[in-house]
Amino acid sequence: MSNSKLYKGSLNTIILKLLNEHDKMYGYEITQKVKALTKGELKITEGALYPALHKLEAEGLLDVEVAKVDNRLRKYYKLTETGTKETVTKLEELAEYIKTMQALVNPKLA
């Protein structure tokens, strides 16, 4: 990620959230989707994205589907049943974190 280390801890949640909203996505598509949604504010680097995807896959939260696209193989990632449940938990944790930070940084808005 180019802009801030603050986003680093939320990378897994971002990936899970995106996959929860889309049936399946491939690596490059995820980077572009995040870039578009944040209007270029958040850029996920390859060096951060793939270790996160592989870790989530190893934990059994993501499943992989391979298809042939334009003379090459494309690896699509999608949520497993456990992954879908974990997404809900992770999003709740993130919302709680944002609320806590809001209370610390800007008590009037909290």
């Binding site: 491939y26 490059y28 680097t45 390859e46 060096g47 934990e59 391979v66 193989l73 690896k75």
Partner: protein, 240 residues
């Protein structure tokens, strides 16, 4: 803008030259790099060479331009460092190991409580018992053959064709076989060393250890077959 077949082949060769030798690792990198290069050429209006060099750097492969003449930047830049790719492979290897171990333990209890496994274990016990009637060595050999059949099945299929030995997933799945084929010998050596002066050696300890080893070894074959079938299908898709 879509890349031509030649340009895609060039990227594949560039990955091989940068020591990304496993095809199941390369497919993901290739797709990402091709997509990124196409995107950069279309939206940033830069050339194929510039776009590829940009993507090469984005994977953490550093390139020091100092002292390199402009006409050599592309050629030198692509092959000066592959540190990013090496890190990518190391990380993937670690996660593949975790994935396989998780899958192994998840299916362990259902397998050892299955009728099929019970029948196999019973057969091995009968063969071992019959062989034991001839001599202790024959009995030990019989029970060890159960472990060796399991492990050599994996090693045989894992190294049978080039594509399998060039798959990081399959290589990871057979990695433990080399250790498991050696383990019975080490156990025998340890046993002989420990009970060197014993009048009656407690061979039942060795039989129990080998039986235990067989349980773990036999289950690893199941997991290996699943991994083998998955990557066999993917390889067929790749070369189709």
């Amino acid at each position: 803008m879509n890349l031509t077949k030649q340009e895609i082949q060039f990227i594949d060769n560039y990955l091989i030259k940068n020591e990304v030798k496993f095809w199941d690792v390369r497919i993901e990198l290739l797709d990402h790099i091709v997509s990124a290069v196409e995107d950069k050429m279309t939206n940033d209006g830069i050339s194929f060479n510039e776009a590829l060099l940009d993507v090469h750097r984005s994977f953490g492969n550093q390139f020091i331009e100092f002292g390199v003449s402009k006409d050599k930047i592309f050629e030198k830049g692509l092959y000066q460092s592959n540190a990013g790719f090496k890190k990518f492979i190391r990380n993937k290897q670690k996660e593949i190991g975790r994935k396989h171990r998780k899958a192994y333990w998840k299916t362990f209890v259902p397998f050892i409580t299955s009728i099929r496994f019970f029948v196999e274990l019973l057969l091995l016990a009968i063969v071992t018992f019959v062989a034991y009637q001839y001599s202790i060595k024959a009995g030990l050999f019989a029970i060890m053959s159960g472990i060796f059949i399991s492990e050599f099945t994996k090693l045989f299929y894992g190294g049978l064709k080039k594509f399998k030995s060039k798959s990081l997933n399959i290589q990871s799945a057979v990695a433990s076989s080399l250790l498991l084929t050696q383990l019975p010998y080490w156990l025998i050596m340890l046993f002989n060393w420990n009970f060197e002066n014993a009048e009656v050696k407690p061979y039942y300890i060795l039989f129990c250890l080998f039986a235990l080893l067989f349980v773990f070894s036999r289950h690893s074959v199941n997991n290996f077959i699943k991994i083998y079938n998955t990557y066999n299908e993917r390889y067929k898709l790749l070369i189709s």
